[in-house]
């Protein structure tokens, strides 16, 4: 994937190894310290502006809370509100200045989405689907002519963008799309098919469409299609559980003529284009999740301090305090991981898809836990629609479903790590390579693997993170140093045990993925805490506390997952699932 390298200014970037994936190296028992420490800083240009932008967004959205709740109940953002989003400049966030946008870095963009999400998720979705996925392909792969033609109008929001991949028969299995494009003699294409659940489908003027193309170059191609073209239509707004005000519709293409110059990227490389867009866009979703968590924490604190039961504010009770603390840990951890990934993207790292998947899985689940707990703290009020908890709970539910379900992403995390290990094992090179249509990289590095194997056995118990750390953080670091070796042993063991069949071992993959998630997120937490200590930041003591607690919790999960590699109930679970599935229901009753 060719991502233009944005010149990095932070100190962390100087030693950054742009070709290395931290997460994939965990599977080799390695901690790529250069890519984790020190914790990256927001680019100066963006930091200066973000303070003012955050205030401006608060001023803009805070007075509209009642309207926003109304849009949710009515399942639509009215045109005048979309216009207000345009006027605010919210469609030009990541478009370069020369095309009329704000040219924000990925990190700053994610921070803006965090702020909009702290008010309302549907707002984030309208602007996020436009920037994160709708027009991201044009930014990453567009020709100069395509950019000049569309970016200025996309920046102003004159045309809003949508990403059209999913179909009724192609959800998680995105490569199986049936929408078809056939090339005519004049080189133009005829497009036919229907997409479903397209965010901004009803308000977009610009569609990035993925279609099957039976060409020598490859099976799928991305196209730019304009809403006004002959044969393009969309269905009504879907009646959804959450993010109800955001437009979700079907988009149909009936004999739509697409000019050759509207192919996005190379003919036949559509799947790569789609995956590159989704990987690059994940920080938007993660940023939104973090913004949501900060609102939930604020609401929960106010509620807990205000509400008295048993003669005391419920904030004094351990079970309430535990929830507040856990939400804060999750929030810090998600934030640390999301902005680490944003930094990789902004610095021109080439292999960050595994880290991006980890940050998406962790952040989406963290905000879902937080919405559950904040609602619980509010008790009966939490269940009432006049309070914001129920809407936030509905709105955040989607985050583990779209832009890759968390199941699919867990498999991806496991397999992308295992694939490199497998590639290095030589004889297993084809075992997992083709699962995600991603060619195996890293042949001929068997010697590296052998060297790594050696360091894995001798490296046990020695410091892998060389920088000097605060004593509490040093202790936490030892956990990651230990379990990264356990992960590499587990990966190695699984590949030797299952060979090619590892692709079918989802229970094992989930354990592996969860280990990788705990390790990567934990290392991000450690790095961020270390940087706050070095800065003598006012929050440094909380950060140390969070790093300690997160690490202990992660260690218990890691221990369980390591043990689960050999001792587990997988077979019994499979058998039970088969039985229940066969019947299609459970057979027992108390009558």
């Amino acid at each position: 994937m060719e991502t233009p390298a944005i010149p990095a200014v932070s100190a962390a970037a100087d030693t950054l190894r742009r070709d290395l994936s931290v997460a994939k190296n965990l599977f080799f028992g390695e901690i790529v310290e250069e890519n984790l420490f020190p914790y990256p800083k927001m680019r100066e240009r963006d930091r200066d502006m973000l303070g003012a932008m955050v205030d401006a967004l608060d001023d803009f959205l805070a007075p509209k809370h009642a309207d926003l709740a109304h849009y949710d109940r009515n399942a639509e953002q009215p045109p005048e509100f979309i216009q207000a989003l345009r006027d605010m400049g919210l469609f030009g966030l990541i478009i370069p200045e020369e095309f009329g946008g704000l040219g924000l870095s990925n990190a700053a963009y994610a921070r803006v989405l965090a702020q909009t999400s702290s008010h309302d998720s549907s707002v984030s979705l309208t602007i996020g689907a436009h920037s994160s996925i709708g027009m991201k392909g044009l930014l990453l792969f567009g020709s100069d002519a395509q950019k000049a033609r569309y970016l200025p109008r996309l920046a102003s929001g004159e045309i809003i963008a949508a990403f059209c991949l999913t179909e009724s028969g192609a959800g998680s299995d995105a490569a199986s799309v049936r929408t078809k494009a056939t090339r005519g003699d004049d080189g133009s294409w005829l497009l036919n098919g229907e997409k479903i659940w397209i965010t901004n489908g009803g308000i977009a003027g610009f569609y990035t469409v993925f279609a099957k193309t039976d060409t020598p170059e490859g099976k799928m191609t991305a196209f730019i299609v304009e809403a006004g073209q002959q044969g393009v239509s969309h269905g009504p707004h879907e009646d959804k559980m959450g993010i109800r005000a955001s437009s979700t519709t079907t988009v149909a293409f009936s004999d739509v003529r697409v000019a050759a110059e509207n192919v996005l990227g190379e003919v036949g490389k559509g799947f790569k284009v789609a995956m590159a867009i989704l990987n690059n866009g994940r920080t938007g979703l993660g940023g939104g999740a973090v913004g949501g968590m900060k609102t939930l924490i604020r609401l929960a604190c106010a509620q807990a301090k205000d509400r008295k039961q048993f003669g005391r504010p419920i904030a004094e009770f351990g079970l309430v305090r535990e929830k507040i603390a856990q939400m804060s840990i999750d929030c810090f951890a998600a934030e640390s991981a999301v902005w680490m990934v944003a930094h990789y993207i902004d610095s021109g790292c080439t292999d960050y898809s595994t880290e991006a998947a980890i940050s998406k899985v962790f952040a989406s689940e963290a905000v879902q836990r937080a919405s559950y707990e904040a609602l619980q703290i509010a008790g009966g009020n939490g269940f009432m629609r006049e309070f914001p908890y129920e809407q936030i709970t509905r709105d955040t539910r989607i985050l583990s479903i779209f832009e890759g379900t968390n199941e699919i992403l867990r498999l991806y995390i496991a397999l992308s790590g295992l694939k490199d290990v497998g590639a290095n094992l030589g004889e297993l090179k084809s075992a997992v390579g083709n699962i995600f249509n991603d060619p195996i990289k890293g042949f001929g590095v068997l010697s590296t693997y052998v060297r790594r194997k050696a360091s894995e056995t001798t490296g046990y118990g020695t410091d892998k993170i060389l920088r000097e750390l605060h004593p509490s953080l040093r202790k936490a670091a030892a956990t990651y140093e230990k379990y990264v070796v356990e992960l590499s042993k587990a990966a190695d063991g699984l590949l030797r045990q299952f060979g090619k069949a590892i692709a079918d071992q989802q229970h094992a993959q989930k354990r592996i993925a969860d280990m990788a998630i705990d390790l990567f997120v934990g290392l991000c937490v450690l790095s961020r805490a270390d940087s706050l200590v070095r800065e003598n930041h006012a929050e440094q003591h909380n950060a140390i506390g969070i790093a300690e607690i997160f690490t202990r919790q992660a260690r218990r999960r890691l221990m369980r997952n390591v043990r689960g590699m050999t001792i587990n109930e997988d077979k019994a679970i499979e058998a039970l699932a088969s039985a229940v599935l066969e019947k299609g229901a459970v057979g027992w009753d108390v009558i």
Binding site: D55, F60, M88, G89, G92, L102
Partner: protein, 248 residues
């Protein structure tokens, strides 16, 4: 026409003010700081006059510590053409502020100066009046409507008895009341554009302003907490209660 706008930074009006434990001031660290709401109204009025084609140049000025730059950028993002930052780490009182603004007037030669009627931190309500006197020009305070025609301004003032409309010759000082206008939202692209607008920094010492500070603050204290009220059944009970408390 050039308009000079006073644009002071204060603790945001949404923040619950806390007094420092030693009583030496209020807590400003880690607290949201914003433009004085009356000054935002002043800037909004100036921008509207520019949009009507009456003014051409809107200059925001603040007197404050080095980190006020971001605050002035907000004024530029809202739409001011230029900003002047008079840098001082000391908190100053109205007469010193008025003398400082007079120096800026001498330098800038504005046709109109618009200030907030007061700042929500010290609530002095003096600077505009003092400035007009020092400058020896007319003043129209507590404005709720401003109409400019030629070299005069017709200003509606909010006074205790209601509304009063006066006409003054320009140049003059106008101070704003709450109902004059509703300040606009800052848009994100304007925040970016503000980065390249001119912002001039002048050390207060270099202006040769004689300090007019004559008040010494001895201590800050939070207002006493209101004690909880009691509900009474009827007037008779109320009177009885007031009597027992010796209040009637």
């Amino acid at each position: 026409m050039k308009i000079l706008v006073g644009y002071k930074r204060v603790v945001d009006y949404n923040v619950r003010i806390q007094v420092k434990p030693d009583g030496s001031g209020v807590v400003t660290e880690g607290v949201k700081l914003s433009a004085n709401p009356f000054d935002e109204i002043a800037l909004e009025e100036a921008l509207r006059l520019r949009e009507k084609g009456i003014a051409t140049d809107v200059v925001v000025a603040t007197i404050g510590p080095a980190d006020c730059q971001a605050h002035l950028r907000n004024g530029l993002a809202m739409g001011a053409n230029r900003a002047i930052h008079v840098v001082t780490s000391e908190a100053i009182q109205p007469l010193t502020a008025a003398r400082t603004l007079l120096k800026l007037i001498e330098k800038e030669q504005p046709d109109l100066v618009i200030l907030g009627k007061q700042a929500i931190d010290d609530d002095c309500n003096q600077t505009g009046q003092m400035l007009a006197a020092l400058w020896n020009r007319p003043q129209a305070t507590f404005a709720s409507k401003v109409e400019i025609s030629g070299s005069t301004a017709k200003v509606t003032r909010e006074v205790d008895a209601g509304l009063e409309t006066i006409e003054i010759d320009l140049p003059a000082v106008i101070t704003t009341d709450l109902r004059l206008n509703e300040p606009r939202f800052t848009k994100l692209p304007d925040i970016m554009k503000a980065k390249s607008k001119p912002l001039e920094s002048i050390p207060l010492e270099s202006l040769g302003v004689e300090s007019g500070d004559s008040l010494k603050t001895t201590a800050y204290a939070a207002p006493p907490k209101r004690s909880k009220g009691v509900m009474v059944k009827d007037v008779a009970e109320l009177v009885a209660l007031l009597k027992t408390k010796g209040l009637v």
